[in-house]
Symmetry: C2
Subunit: 336 residues, 2 copies
């Protein structure tokens, strides 16, 4: 049985209030009393019960993080940023990872209601209007990272611009047979994919090139699916000279296929990804760096601003995106 504040008070011959004051660094404790209390704590190997403190103060000193399966590096990278930012604070991190829409909805309903956490960070999971309303009305403020809702605070990037940036870069290199390999456009998980696609198409057409339906393929955003989709593109009668992959994982799948097929990158094929996961650097992959880690950090920062009432929902924090040119892109061999 661990010692309680009362045990300490008794041993130090003071009231529990005084012990509490020592615990909370209150100034109104005489030095002599403080020493006596500290000695008693030490002797009893006392440490305060955080649960009792939580009930008393109404603060839990924990932040809940809701995010999709931990299997994708980009989520982990964002979580890493959250974790890092929280490390400097006195807050703990409760992890809620959801694997499917059912779980997601269940958590959205629960998490916002229970007073288990002081704040909620939702990563890469766009809420429905109903869920957003619940979040907004919850006593624990929420911040979306890599997700958007008009009523909430979000940390986001401009995906249309991102898609456009990639496409413009490839066009500038001299490519015009540019394929887009995407996650499913109509998934509730990643509307950003749709925006990147939009940026791609708009830019392409504005530059005077027709959109070729065969150059657009979509599928689950895992490496092996991407491999297959890439093969589909590269075995076309008139294959693309550049492939824009919706995320780095998919780009890596493209690289796999290129290697398998003996297609040289970047000589025969330019490949560009999106995200800026660590592997992209090792693989020398040209990509859009969207500062995943930093998004987690900023999410925490925004959440704290909300907690301290420095700001109010809704609000948007836009993170920059940067084209990082590495070794998987080059001008096409047959320049027009």
């Amino acid at each position: 049985m661990p010692a309680t504040i009362r045990d300490v008070a008794k041993l130090a011959s003071v009231g529990v209030g005084t012990v509490s004051r020592v615990l909370n660094d209150s100034l109104s404790v005489s030095d002599e009393t403080r020493q006596r209390v500290l000695a008693a704590m030490d002797e009893l190997d006392y440490s305060p019960n955080p649960i009792a403190r939580q009930l008393s103060t109404g603060r839990t000193l924990t932040i809940g993080v809701l995010l999709p399966h931990l299997t994708m590096p980009s989520y982990v990278e964002r979580l890493s940023g959250v974790q890092q930012a929280l490390l400097e604070t006195e807050y703990d991190l409760v992890l809620f990872s959801v694997e499917n829409p059912t779980q997601r909805d269940a958590f959205f309903d629960n998490i916002s209601q229970t007073s288990r956490v002081d704040g909620i960070l939702v990563v890469s999971l766009p809420p429905t209007d109903r869920q957003a309303a619940r979040l907004a009305s919850s006593s624990a403020p929420a911040v979306l990272v890599d997700a958007y809702h008009p009523d909430l605070c979000c940390v986001i990037t401009d995906d249309i611009k991102g898609g456009s940036l990639v496409t413009k870069y490839l066009l500038d290199l001299g490519h015009h047979k540019i394929a887009y390999l995407s996650d499913f456009l109509e998934t509730p998980f990643h509307p950003s994919m749709r925006y990147r696609y939009q940026g791609y198409r708009d830019t392409l057409e504005k530059a005077g090139f027709d959109f070729i339906p065969e150059y657009f393929v979509e599928g689950h955003n895992d490496r092996s699916t991407a491999r297959q989709l890439a093969r589909q593109l590269l075995t076309l009668p008139d294959p693309p000279s550049a492939i824009f992959a919706g995320c780095d994982i998919q780009a890596i799948g493209v690289l796999d296929t290129a290697r398998e097929m003996g297609i040289r990158v970047p000589q025969d094929l330019s490949v560009i990804g999106y995200d800026g996961i660590r592997d992209a650097e090792y693989l020398n992959l040209t990509t859009i760096e969207q500062h995943l880690f930093e998004s987690g950090v900023q999410g925490v920062r925004l959440l704290f601003d909300l907690l301290e009432k420095n700001i109010e929902a809704p609000c948007q924090k836009y993170l920059p995106i940067d084209l990082v040119v590495r070794g998987t892109t080059a001008p096409p061999i047959h320049v027009i």
Copy 2:
């Protein structure tokens, strides 16, 4: 201000005890009363305050997970298993990720003392005797995953056997110029590296081959360091025909270097890793599968057995290891 149990009681014209009984599915509540209470809860959009419940019951319904930086896929994979196993329970997961020994020690001291969690899962962080003693004496039971201490419960594998397995396999293929590329042997983080090394050396020598000091290199277990170490090995006057990497990440670094240097794998060089991370599968890497995900699941299971007093510390649960032969290993070209 959220509704409390008292509000519900008042609205339903019952005592708080009855509401509590409904909340806890007690049988001794008449159906009619139960309905009335449920209706009141519904009307008030009531949900019980978990903190108050925790204080009252002494159970927090959360498990603390302590693990090193989230940046390595193997830790994430283990965490994933923990998370998955916890999903089926009513327990939440509080994440403590530590980046350096100082943080680690601080957490070891704190986590075991505070009554914030009902149980503790320590992943890949071997405690000192002092820390182990603290964990053992804590009211919250602890389980080590991928770490060992004689006084605690652990989920582990036989790393000596693993190192031996790899070496035997390579020897059987006909290799004898087998290099070992390792994490630092003397790091407090991964004593398992030392055991794998031991298995490697013993097996090699038992087979009648001298250990060649030049064939052993060590460094931080990240991909780029591994690349450099691999280059060091492969530019030796008499380079090895096979490289055994202490973990998959390092093996991937070796593959990088081989590609850069135009060394064909597996024709000119066999490469074998250790861990069984997802990327190993995609990269067609021969490796030791040590069931990372499953280790997390088993850790949770053991922890629950401990919580339910089905077992007592210390105890060890050994997980199997399996050689997974893929495409990066083959007999050496010049068979002896």
